[in-house]
């Protein structure tokens, strides 16, 4: 649910990083927060357990001036990935405008990735949406590890809908692919907004 505020010349959009537990959602936001100038970001808020597992969500507001003199605010959220937090994941998806689906590239996590994508589609359906309606990109994370599936296999497994989505390989701990992913999903969201209201 995006908003356009003519009085303050602001556009606001919500982007959610989704994926199975420990796939790198929070790491993405932490890297972005650490590597964006202070003028373009707000505080990184993390609601986590004592062991730094996301309990409710992470939140990072970003701001950029886009064409037309409007300031566009992108509010980045992550969801808790552990299976039993599904009710919380649904709450965080409320009003979503774009999704980054983060994939743990390790072979042994493929089943969890598939389940998480299915879960995303189900939870979007609770808001009358689905993966066909919400702009999203895929991020194949942890490409630095040894036991990773080839990107082609992950594409076959997860990017097999009628409309293929943009995908990026990443190493979120060191930042590889993080900003490419962020820029891609933000542009997709703006493009959709432009198609609707431009």
């Amino acid at each position: 649910m995006a908003s356009i505020n003519y009085a303050q010349r602001q556009i606001s959009c919500k982007i959610v990083y989704y994926g199975c537990a420990m796939c790198g959602k929070t790491t993405n936001l932490q890297f972005i927060h650490d590597h964006i100038p202070a003028r373009d970001k707000g505080n990184l808020v993390s609601l986590a357990t004592e062991t730094d597992r996301t309990l409710f969500f992470d939140f990072l507001p970003l701001e950029v001036e886009t064409i037309g003199g409007f300031t566009t605010k992108f509010q980045l959220y992550t969801v808790p990935g552990q299976v039993f937090y599904n009710a919380t994941r649904k709450l965080v998806l409320r009003g979503v405008d774009g999704v980054v689906f983060v994939v743990d590239s390790q072979w042994e996590r493929m089943k969890d990735n598939v389940e998480s994508l299915r879960n995303l589609d189900e939870n979007l359906a609770e808001y009358g949406l689905g993966l066909d309606a919400v702009p999203y990109v895929l991020q194949y994370n942890k490409r630095d590890l040894l036991n990773t599936a080839p990107p082609e296999y992950i594409e076959f497994l997860l990017n097999n809908r009628e409309q293929r989505q943009l995908s990026f390989q990443s190493v979120a701990t060191t930042g590889g692919g993080v900003f490419d992913t962020l820029n891609a999903v933000c542009k997709l969201v703006l493009k959709r907004l432009q198609e609707k209201h431009g």
């Binding site: 590597h35 505080n43 930042g175 900003f179």
Partner: protein, 160 residues
């Protein structure tokens, strides 16, 4: 976008600001925010300079969403009001219609009872103003949404 996008024009923002300012005056509260239930900050009024209102809006929406689920588990339609009492500051959250939350921060200069009373009245008036924006037919609206040619965000050195 999920079809619930909304556009706020100057008259909407002015109307909301007027209601919030009036509420602060009547309730003797420190500041008030109007927050969409998705976590977006719509408007703010009062002493907000030292507050991270963006984060507060996201957290308030999260808290409300969480209690909505608790209410459902208990068989309640919803909890309309949340209140947290602190040592120096208190926070009161109440629903404005179905899509927004009004967040009020107040201290010992006023009372919870007065804040609740004024918030209930203001909430009804705010709902009318905000509902107009939410229900606006956007099919004929043309907003200026530009697409940048380059990257929106560039990675900088850590800690810049």
């Amino acid at each position: 976008m999920n079809g619930d996008d909304f556009v706020l024009y100057e008259e909407d923002v002015e109307g909301i600001q007027q209601e919030l300012a009036r509420f602060l005056s009547e309730a003797q509260a420190n500041c008030a925010l109007l927050v969409h239930r998705s976590g977006q900050l719509v408007a703010q009024s009062g002493f907000t300079r030292r507050l991270d209102t963006t984060s507060l809006a996201a957290l308030a929406a999260g808290a409300f969403a969480s209690t909505e689920e608790i209410a459902r588990l208990l068989g309640e339609p919803e909890f309309n009001v949340l209140f947290h009492e602190g040592t120096n500051a208190n926070i009161h959250l109440c629903l404005v219609g179905e899509q927004a939350i009004m967040v009020t921060i107040f201290d010992q200069r006023t009372t919870l009872g007065l804040v609740r009373l004024c918030a209930a009245e203001t909430g009804q008036r705010l709902h009318q103003v905000f509902a107009r924006a939410l229900q606006r037919d956007l099919s004929s609206e043309r907003a200026v949404v530009g697409l940048p040619t380059g990257d929106l965000f560039r990675q900088s050195a850590r800690g810049v």
